[in-house]
Amino acid sequence: MTLPLSAAAIMAVGLAWELARPRLRASLPGRARALVSRWVGRAAPATVEDPGRERRAELRARQLLRSCVNEEEWAMYRDLGFLSVPGAASTCAYLVYPHRPIVAYAPGTGSVLNEYCVAFPDETRPYGSARLPDADDVLAKWMALSADERRVIAEANMHLPGRQVDVRRVRKDLVRLARWERARAAGSVRAA
């Protein structure tokens, strides 16, 4: 009898604390709020409630990506939202999406081969998150693939197509990519 009552009491206290915490923090002056935030193991609101921070981070990340990849690859990411990175073997290439698995496909046939689930978590969580900005995640995958494809593939969890990225979406993206490459080639021919 005592045990269930104790468990219920602990749960009630925990629930009440969770409900009261945001209101308590909001009602405190800045210094006290920071102390409470530190006490409850969360970053101070001043460091997490900045709606422009993620956007600024993404803009910075896009500039860095642009400075590292080829002009064509940058245009691809800007226009399509992903990169196509050739593999060491000409029979394989990769679609690199931000915060999605790397998708291997056969450039000749358009067949979707595998998904390689890989992440670059920063466990120091310097700004409260372990997730890189989208363009930084793409850059990390691009650098790792272009430098050491086998190492990245070895670190990743391999799955059959469709586990996390819808195969229909991948096929659509491959069609968009082919169309984009044709338009770009036609544009460069016209420009020449």
């Binding site: 921070r53 993620e54 600024r56 981070a57 993404e58 803009l59 910075r60 990340a61 860095l64 400075s67 590292c68 990849v69 080829n70 690859e73 915060h99 999605r100 698995p101 689930c117 890989v118 992440a119 670059f120 978590p121 920063d122 466990e123 120091t124 969580r125 310097p126 700004y127 409260g128 998150s129 372990a130 997730r131 890189l132 900005p133 930084d136 850059l139 990390a140 691009w142 650098m143 790792a144 272009s146 430098a147 050491d148 190492r151 990245v152 670190e155 990743a156 969890n157 996390q164």
Partner: protein, 89 residues
């Protein structure tokens, strides 16, 4: 040479910057480089191949960094991802 690190919620930050020809600055670069590797980061040097295509080269020590490299980019090491609630890897 500049040592950059990709950071969540921020984009890249400059960890160290200096001239590798200057012994004092080179020592600071080496120290910053080692600290990042010790923290488990991967290091890559953006390069340009002979055909003009850009690529990257992974380096495991400061000695492997080409002397004319302008940047070394550190990023968290790859790990097999798990599916998050929104489906992201």
């Amino acid at each position: 040479m500049r040592l950059l690190r990709l950071k969540p919620g921020h984009g890249e930050v400059v960890l160290a910057e200096g001239d590798v020809a200057d012994p004092e600055q080179a020592a600071a670069l080496v120290a910053a480089f080692r600290a990042e590797l010790d923290a488990g980061m991967w290091a890559a040097v953006p390069t340009e191949r002979g055909d003009g295509r850009r690529a990257a080269e992974m380096v495991r020590s400061f000695e492997e960094v080409p002397p004319d490299a302008e940047r070394v980019i550190f990023f968290p090491r790859a790990a097999g991802g798990a599916q998050s609630p929104d489906g992201a890897a």
